[in-house]
């Protein structure tokens, strides 16, 4: 039967994984290999995707992708036992490497290597480390502990999209690089290609491999691949506190004896064991101690076909691999898996390629599995047996049980969507209205008092009117009005970080996958879109976690329609001034309008694009965790500082420039009437475009033009130019709609340029200005019916 035909609560054994390419390899890497047992937990509220439990973790998969997987239902409890017994009989135990290698006492400081062979790196060599691990296993938390950095972490797979370098605290001759989370070293996703290229091209002196000890089986899959690279490696077993709390344990000494690498149990979040990890990492790097085991296949395993093929290919390509400086074992396995990048790098002769193909085909025939599945199976068989020998698994983790209970409501069939909408509305309401508004007015009053004090001080000292105007209207009017919105932005980011840190963001992606697929996007796109409510710049950067270029382009196109927090000052200003009785409603309607226009744009672009098939949705659902105050604090601090920096750099300079442009004419004479200023003349050129919606006044156009620099500038320019007198409730509506939809700030455009190139950046600017103009005009026509 097919996996998609399984009923909720039923278990089955995987018989065949069909399909091809990246998705198939990804499924194999995630442990979906023939012989594996899985259980169907639930379907998303709209019936698709499905949630499976496999190797002790939760995996989501679309029904369309599940059609490629054949399974055999396990009907009776005895069959569970049978599957396990068969596994025990088929695969032998792995002996410790302790007795027959030159690495006595693994894991004990100073005993990693035999003294007579030691060949330490010259003194003063910079010890470079790559921090590698699967997604959501705590890499960035560890990186922050190691380096004292304050990088953003979240309970969502794929938070790290950038390279981060840092020096280990107290060890100035070190440099550790935090890499994006990867499931394997296949070259299919951008993250995997990057991690591979960093490790292979930059040749770090050692790798710190962090694994989630509460989900050790799947995590070790990456470990065995890293060991194949032959680079000094230290294994950090993270979240050991959770394992212990759930009555589990790991026989660390035995694990390191079998693997032949130092293994250090840690809890990155609690900073436990990190010091010991650093000692081991520095030691293996300094003495260049390579993993003692690289061979994970056995002669007596499943007829030995895989073992024989690996070793014969290793002999075949040994010289080419050495020449290309690729570890031979790693190159062999990648060749078997069909990795074209390695094949090109090795530059094999046609005859060698033929031989290679013959060996692999023979192995497939003897093993009864295709090449990729055979290799994945070999690795998982080793890991499974290793875990049987060294891991005492907890029955069911408290975190998992808690997550199941919470998920019954948050991803329940009828409750998921209403709760999602309620949570998002609540976040916006709390940020803007309930908590944000009083704090904002408090800060505003403070700034006004300060401005007043500065004005009086300058007046008493006889400072000239022009300079006073520069300080009061230019600096305080511009920077002050923007700075007062800091509380709202902090509160919005506080709630967004709670959603992400708790693990709810991943559930939103799961719940929203089906509706987003109708728009030609995948559930993953919801994350950048939600971040877009905070700021378009990180949202555009967050699209890097999307595996499909098409998804990325279309998500970036839609992101600026999600109203960013910089537009809040505009809404609050206009709604408060012109619609004081319905300010909250106006703001909510604007947010909704942004979403609706985004949806329409998505549908239109879906029609225009021929190839809009959404990328596969294979994602791990992390357990819910309580957000850590430290993480949330770091994020808020970063965002606040970023906002304050912007206020005192870009907005400050722009405010002073605008003040100068509206105070002087082209002959640099101070103008009596602002309408004679340089600003008025320049804005007058664009103004006719806005005449149809009665926004043709030069002050309004100036405010809109300055919005290109930063959206907060619209309000500060309105403050500097005193525009309120020329706007009415009728014209406030098209003004608000235009501000909502027109091109994001320069920083966001620069991000689009960085991600997709100048053509796309220009296209997005033109498209959004056009959409904004049309919508603003339509809203004006609609408003004339009421005002």
């Amino acid at each position: 039967m097919l996996l998609k035909d399984l009923k909720i609560g039923e278990s089955a054994v995987v018989e065949k994984v069909g399909g091809e390419g990246a998705l198939r390899q990804h499924l194999l890497d995630m442990g979906m290999i023939p012989g594996t047992e899985l259980t169907l937990m639930k379907f998303a509220p709209m019936g698709d995707p499905m949630e499976l439990r496999i190797h002790g973790y939760l995996l989501t998969l679309r029904l369309a992708d599940a059609e490629n997987i054949e399974v055999r239902r396990i009907d009776a409890e005895s069959e569970h036992t049978d599957t396990k017994r068969k596994l025990r009989e088929e695969y032998p135990y792995y002996e410790s490497l302790h007795d027959h290698n030159a690495h006595p006492g693994f894991g004990e400081e100073g005993k990693f290597h035999s003294k007579k062979d030691e060949n330490p790196l010259p003194k003063g060599t910079k010890l470079t480390f790559a921090l590698v691990g699967q997604q959501n296993c705590g890499k960035t938390t560890l990186f922050n502990q190691l380096t004292g950095a304050k990088q953003h972490v979240g309970n969502f797979p794929g938070v790290t999209v950038d390279r981060k370098d840092g020096v280990i605290l107290g060890h100035n001759d070190t440099l550790v690089t935090d890499l994006p989370g990867i499931y394997s070293l296949s070259p299919y996703t951008a993250e995997e290609r990057v991690a591979r290229s960093v490790i292979m091209e930059e040749q770090p002196k050692a790798i710190i491999n962090i694994v989630d000890a509460s989900n050790i089986e799947r995590n070790l899959y990456l470990t065995v691949q890293l060991m194949e690279l032959g680079i000094p490696l230290v294994l950090a077993l993270n979240m050991m506190d959770e394992v212990r709390n759930n009555n589990g344990s790991i026989r660390v000494n035995e694990l390191e004896k079998i693997l032949g690498i130092p293994v250090v149990p840690i809890s990155a979040a609690k900073n436990e064991g990190v010091e010991e990890l650093v000692e081991h990492a520095i030691h293996v790097a300094k003495f260049q101690e390579k993993p003692a085991r690289q061979d994970f296949c056995r002669k007596d395993e499943s007829g030995g076909a895989v073992h024989r093929s690996i070793h014969s290919i290793m002999h075949l390509i040994e010289d080419k691999a050495e020449k290309a400086k690729i570890p031979v074992r790693f190159a062999t396995l990648k060749l078997i898996e069909g990795d074209n990048l390695i094949l090109e790098a090795l530059d094999l002769s046609p005859r060698e390629k033929d031989t290679l193909e013959h060996i692999i085909s023979q192995m497939e025939e003897e093993r009864g599995l295709d090449r990729s599945a055979a290799i994945a199976d070999m690795r998982y068989a080793f890991i499974q047996k290793l875990c049987e020998q060294t891991v005492v698994k907890p029955q069911e983790s408290k975190e998992y049980l808690r997550s199941r209970k919470v998920d019954r409501v948050l991803t329940g069939k009828w409750s998921a969507i209403p709760i999602f909408l309620a949570i998002i509305s609540l976040v916006i309401y709390m940020s803007i209205e309930l908590l944000g508004a009083p704090l904002q007015s408090l800060l505003e009053n403070g700034i006004a008092l300060l401005s007043d004090f500065a004005d009086r001080s300058m007046a008493s000292r006889g400072v000239s009117d022009a300079v006073r105007s520069l300080v009061v209207d230019g600096v305080f009017g511009g920077v002050g009005s923007v700075l007062s919105f800091l509380p709202i932005i902090i509160i919005l980011f506080f709630f967004l970080s709670l959603l992400e840190d708790s693990g709810y963001m991943a559930r939103i992606a799961f719940v929203m996958d089906k509706p987003l697929r109708k728009l030609g996007l995948s559930g993953h796109s919801i994350v950048p879109l939600l971040i877009g409510f905070g700021c378009s710049v990180p949202a555009i950067m967050a699209t890097r976690t999307l595996s499909s270029t098409n998804d990325r382009k279309r998500t970036i196109l839609l992101t600026p329609f999600m109203s960013c927090s910089a537009k809040i000052p505009i809404y609050v200003f206009f709604a408060g001034t012109f619609f004081p009785d319905h300010a909250g409603l106006v703001v909510v309607l604007l947010y909704l309008l942004g979403v609706v226009v985004g949806l329409i744009t998505a549908l239109v672009t879906k029609k225009l694009y021929r190839r809009t098939e959404a990328a596969p949705f294979v994602m791990e659902l992390p357990n819910y965790r309580f957000p850590q105050a430290k993480n949330v604090g770091h994020l808020l601090w970063d965002k606040s500082m970023d906002f304050v920096k912007r206020a005192f750099t870009v907005i400050f300079v722009a405010s002073v420039a605008i003040w100068a442009l509206q105070t002087f004419d082209f002959q640099l004479n101070m103008v009596q009437n602002a309408a004679d200023s340089m600003l008025a003349k320049v804005s007058g050129v664009v103004a006719p475009l806005f005449v149809p919606m009665q926004l043709g006044d030069w002050q309004i156009v100036t405010a809109l033009v300055t919005g290109f620099i930063a959206k907060e500038m619209v309000v500060s320019t309105l403050g500097v130019l005193d525009v309120v007198s020329v706007i009415t409730p009728l014209t406030a509506i098209p003004m608000l709609v235009f501000c909502l939809l027109y091109t994001p700030c320069v920083a966001a455009i620069a991000s689009v340029n960085r991600e997709l190139g100048a053509k796309w950046a220009l296209f997005i600017v033109i498209l959004q200005c056009a959409v904004a103009w049309v919508c603003a005009y339509l809203s004006y026509l609609l408003a004339t019916l009421f005002f």
């Binding site: 999209v161 950038d162 390279r163 981060k164 370098d165 690089t177 890499l179 994006p180 951008a190 993250e191 290609r193 990057v194 991690a195 290229s197 960093v198 091209e201 930059e202 300058m458 000292r461 006889g462 400072v463 000239s464 300079v467 520069l470 300080v471 230019g474 600096v475 950067m541 890097r544 920096k645 005192f648 750099t649 870009v650 400050f652 300079v653 002073v656 620069a750 960085r754 991600e755 997709l756 190139g757």
Partner: protein, 48 residues
Amino acid sequence: MNAASIIVLSVVLLAVAVACYFIVKRKPNTDCSSGCGGCNTKNCPSRK
């Protein structure tokens, strides 16, 4: 223009100069001049 005006004006202009310096100095955090770090931007050498 009296001395107080000149002092205030100088302070504002100095602040503008410092702000301009920080604007120009600010690098995008996807700079990969020190090696590839997974920025996956249009110029990223690792991007397929």
